[in-house]
């Protein structure tokens, strides 16, 4: 037994060492220099987009590793809340869809106040007074149309309620996508649209997927002919030759700014700040446009096919009622569509 037990002990020690090595949470590699280290980013941006942004970021900051977790906004927030429950929030930076989401995080006192040096050129309305979050781009929600399937002109949301579009509609779920939740809040509070709009969509058997990616794929691929979706997905698809076009609805557009914010509990605040600075910098904004979004900074051109903010009719409501009503809105939506 002696020999075998010796072997066992050795093996166990070896195993423990191996485990310890591979379970090193990279974010605990603390380093005083702001140019070195790693951060954990939770984002609702599509994978390809965030990877391109990180690659560009690393050109300027090659020593900062960015580990990211990607999911729908609502799921990200739940994850952050769950982590808060268990005591450790793993995320350092959040980059998710809309203001209202950040407002609720702010009221839970989870955000760090940081006034970036790159705020010049960004309109005041795109960040909060306490500097806990800043908008990074402009994303509008509108209608995507597959022109091979639907030949006629579509101009408004109301048109989607026509019975001839039964089974041809697709939309993202407010239970997953922050932008969709934001839209739900605003549209239901806009006279002339309201909850009736959603009930009408239900009558036309609208497919409620998860995120905007699914909607875009579905319409591009011809599963359905029409969808409610964020502009960049539709416009990028149209630009690469898919038979789709993006419509800014006549009732107005819903605009979110995909803000970025740093969590108060972050142990990598310096590195996180560098990341925020980069996103808001000229290079970062040029990269944003290059990837395919309307940049938020003045002086940086929007890419082809995108309207600039001046030309968009913006629908909005007061932020406070949006924030307070979000949970109730989601529940009502869930009840309606179950």
């Amino acid at each position: 037994m002696k020999m075998r037990q010796k072997m066992v002990v050795l093996l166990t020690i070896a195993l423990v060492l191996v485990l310890a090595a591979c379970s090193t949470n990279k974010s605990t590699a603390d380093n005083p220099s702001a140019k070195k280290g790693s951060i954990t980013l939770y984002t609702s941006q599509p994978e390809e987009d965030i990877q391109k942004m990180i690659t560009a970021f690393n050109k300027t900051y090659p020593e900062i590793t960015v580990n990211y977790f990607r999911s729908g906004t609502e799921e990200i927030i739940s994850k952050v809340m769950a982590e808060k429950e268990t005591g450790t929030i793993l995320a350092d930076v959040l980059l998710v869809s809309d203001d209202a989401t950040f407002e609720s995080l702010k009221s839970a006192d989870l955000l760090m106040s940081y006034k970036s040096s790159e705020l010049n050129g960004i309109d005041e309305s795109f960040y909060d007074a306490g500097n806990t979050y800043t908008g990074t781009k402009l994303i509008t929600t509108g209608i995507i149309q597959n022109t091979d399937i639907i030949k006629e002109d579509i101009v408004s949301y109301k048109q989607l309620l026509d019975s001839r579009y039964d089974n041809e509609l697709n939309m993202p779920s407010p239970l997953y996508s922050g932008a969709a939740a934001y839209n739900l809040g605003i549209l239901t509070r806009t006279s002339g649209i309201g909850w009736d709009f959603y009930e009408g969509l239900k009558k036309n058997h609208v497919v409620v997927g998860k995120g905007n990616g699914g909607v875009s794929q579905a319409v591009v691929g011809g599963q359905q002919g029409l969808g409610i979706v964020v502009d960049y997905l539709a416009i990028r698809a149209a630009n690469s030759g898919s038979p789709v076009k993006f419509i800014y609805p006549s009732e107005g557009s819903l605009v979110v700014t995909e803000p970025i914010g740093i969590l108060k509990s972050s142990k990598n605040a310096d590195q996180a700040k560098s990341f925020v600075d980069y996103i808001l910098s000229d290079e970062g904004q040029k990269e944003t446009a290059k990837i395919g979004y309307t940049p938020i900074k003045e002086g940086i051109d929007a890419p082809e096919g995108f309207k600039s903010v001046k030309d968009i009719k913006v629908l909005s409501t007061d932020l406070k009622s949006l924030v307070e009503g979000r949970e109730a809105d989601k529940t009502k939506f869930s009840d309606l569509f179950n």
Binding site: S23, N25, T86, L90, G213, A218, S242
Partner: protein, 557 residues
């Protein structure tokens, strides 16, 4: 520690096992009764009053019942065909039927979504002929895909049992004047009836545990099932969500307990048979015409069920836009480019690989020690109870275990959110598989063989290398192979336990699909299938070498 007294060693083992395998689940149970007001039934009361919960329970039970009936019928049928008849191409049939053991269920579900895409070939044809489109995101699809994934369970159990029905038992029936079919039903199937019942229950359990198929096909079409409902609650907002998830997990677990109890009853009813060797003689011969007719029916069926969906998925993975590759102009390697260069998919691949290797190693070491102990000292009765404890995390659904892991291991700092918790979860879940494999391997090893080695003067170490390992390698490696593939393709535990730096293959494919990046999920799935096939061939080669070496050393028990 080297010379622990046997008694204290046993206490230590029991303690460790309880902590690792049982306490997490107790924590889960306790949490389910927690609410803001302290200990109460509130969570259960609330959930059980909601129609969504009723729906989830009903759906889960229906899916489990119908899919296991279908899986059992299909599995027995194919097993009879392969074990008893002379149809050609048995190897291919077996390969197809067993493919869900290697191809993860979410890949199969994905493949079917491509095959039955709304504007895919099949649905286009149906519409053309004036028929209804087939919606793959439906209740029926979930049942059928899960059934397909569980047929291997039934097949493996039954084929061995079928082969062990003695030829003479059939002859005794035929000689009395009964026909071939009656003999098959009254003698063969009747004799393996307990095995069939056991297989039915096993596939029922597998269906209860299945998360990825309802997740892929049921979430967007709003078909609530307990496993995905628990997931939704766990990632949902709010403090009570976690407790509610715990309560749902307990409900699911109680269903599992009932089935486990039924299993226990059935397993005691095994009919006495003298220990028989399996016979592979053909018992039911088809005529030449009969053989061709069977082929005519079987080939398209098997092709359609097993190969066509995968082919469709692979073709779609080469498409620039969503949908099938309509023409060459749509052909693109873009998706593969993304998968092979993206940080997420690459790290997911290596994470899963790493997890799989470490899990296998840890399980091998501890399970082998435990199994050796168990077999050589049958007088330590408590080891039997300990083994049952270790089996619990495997018997319970994965999503329940994941939740338990979160509740329990978040007490220890640095575990939740790191790769460690996922590793602990894998080892907790799959340890029992290695124990079972190693136990049967050691049981087959006669103690006299080892004693002969000792009496010949070799020391313990060379005894292990020369005698024990070569003789037990095959069954032990079989378990390791299963654990490797299970951990590598796993998605249920990852869905709740993976952190930003520990994404896994299964989760990656799942997230890509949920995010709408279908083509990329197809590309990744195709690559993973290739990799699994590669690993499988490696294992086959290792086995061949071990058998060859055994023959060389001429050690034959």
């Amino acid at each position: 520690m080297i010379h622990l007294k046997s008694g204290s060693r046993r206490v230590l083992v029991v303690l460790v096992v309880c902590i690792v395998f049982i306490l997490p689940l107790m924590t889960l149970a306790i949490r389910s009764f927690q609410s803001n007001a302290g200990f109460s039934y509130e969570n259960y009361a609330l959930l059980l009053s909601q129609s969504r919960t009723h729906q989830a329970i009903v759906n889960t039970l229906l899916v489990a019942l119908i899919s296991s009936l279908i899986a059992t019928a299909g599995g027995v049928l194919v097993a009879v065909l392969v074990a008893y008849t002379n149809i050609p191409g048995k190897r291919w049939i077996e390969l197809c039927v067993l493919s869900p053991m290697v191809v993860p269920s979410y890949v199969i579900a994905l493949a079917y979504t491509t095959l039955f895409a709304n504007r895919g070939l099949i649905n286009q044809a149906l519409v053309h002929w004036g028929l209804q489109r087939i919606n793959v995101y439906s209740f029926q699809s979930i049942i059928l895909v899960i059934a397909l994934c569980n047929i291997p369970i039934v097949y493996m159990q039954c084929i061995d049992a079928l082969r062990k029905v003695p030829l003479e038992a059939e002859w005794a029936s035929l000689s009395s004047g009964h026909g071939r079919l009656k003999t098959l039903v009254s003698i063969n199937l009747a004799q393996i009836w307990p095995t069939i019942q056991g297989a039915l229950l096993l596939s029922f359990l597998a269906a209860l545990d299945n998360f990825s198929v309802p997740a892929l096909l049921g979430i967007t079409s709003n078909i609530p099932m307990l496993s995905t409902y628990i997931y939704e609650k766990a990632i949902g907002f709010g403090p009570s969500a976690f407790q509610q998830a715990a309560a749902l997990a307990m409900i699911l677990s109680s269903l599992v307990m009932v089935v486990l109890f039924l299993q226990f009853l059935v397993s005691r009813k095994k009919f006495y048979t003298k220990s028989v060797l399996a016979v592979s003689e053909v018992r039911m011969k088809f005529s030449k015409r009969g053989k061709w007719m069977m082929l005519f029916v079987l080939v398209p069926v098997f092709f359609g069920i097993y190969l066509l969906p995968i082919l469709t998925m692979v073709m779609a993975s080469f498409s620039r836009t969503f949908g099938m590759v309509a023409s060459l102009s749509e052909f693109s390697l873009k998706n593969y480019e993304f998968v092979l260069t993206s940080i997420t998919t690459r790290s997911a691949f290596f994470n899963s690989l790493w997890f799989a290797l470490i899990s296998v190693a840890v399980c091998l070491v501890f399970a082998s020690m435990f199994a050796y102990w168990r077999v050589r000292r049958p007088q330590d009765k408590e080891l039997g109870v300990v083994e049952k404890f270790i089996a619990v995390p495997y018997a319970l659904p994965g999503i329940v275990l994941a939740l338990a892991m979160i509740f329990f291991w978040s007490i220890v700092p640095g575990v939740y959110g790191s790769t460690l918790i996922l590793l602990i979860a894998y080892v907790t879940r799959y340890m029992i598989l290695q124990i079972k494999g190693s136990t049967s391997a050691f049981r087959g090893l006669h103690p006299e063989l080892e004693e002969a080695g000792i009496s010949a003067g070799r020391n313990r170490f060379s005894q292990w290398i020369r005698i024990i390992i070569p003789l037990t390698l095959k069954p032990i490696m079989a378990s390791s192979a299963i654990i490797f593939i299970s951990v590598f393709t796993e998605v249920t535990l990852s869905s709740l336990l993976a952190a930003a730096n520990s994404k896994t293959v299964g989760l990656s494919i799942f997230s890509l699909q949920q995010a709408g990046n279908y083509n990329q999920s197809y590309a990744f799935s195709a690559l993973i299938i290739l990799f699994i096939l590669f690993i499988y061939s490696v294992f086959l080669i290792i086995r061949k070498i071990s058998v060859h070496r055994r023959k060389q050393h001429d050690i034959n028990p």
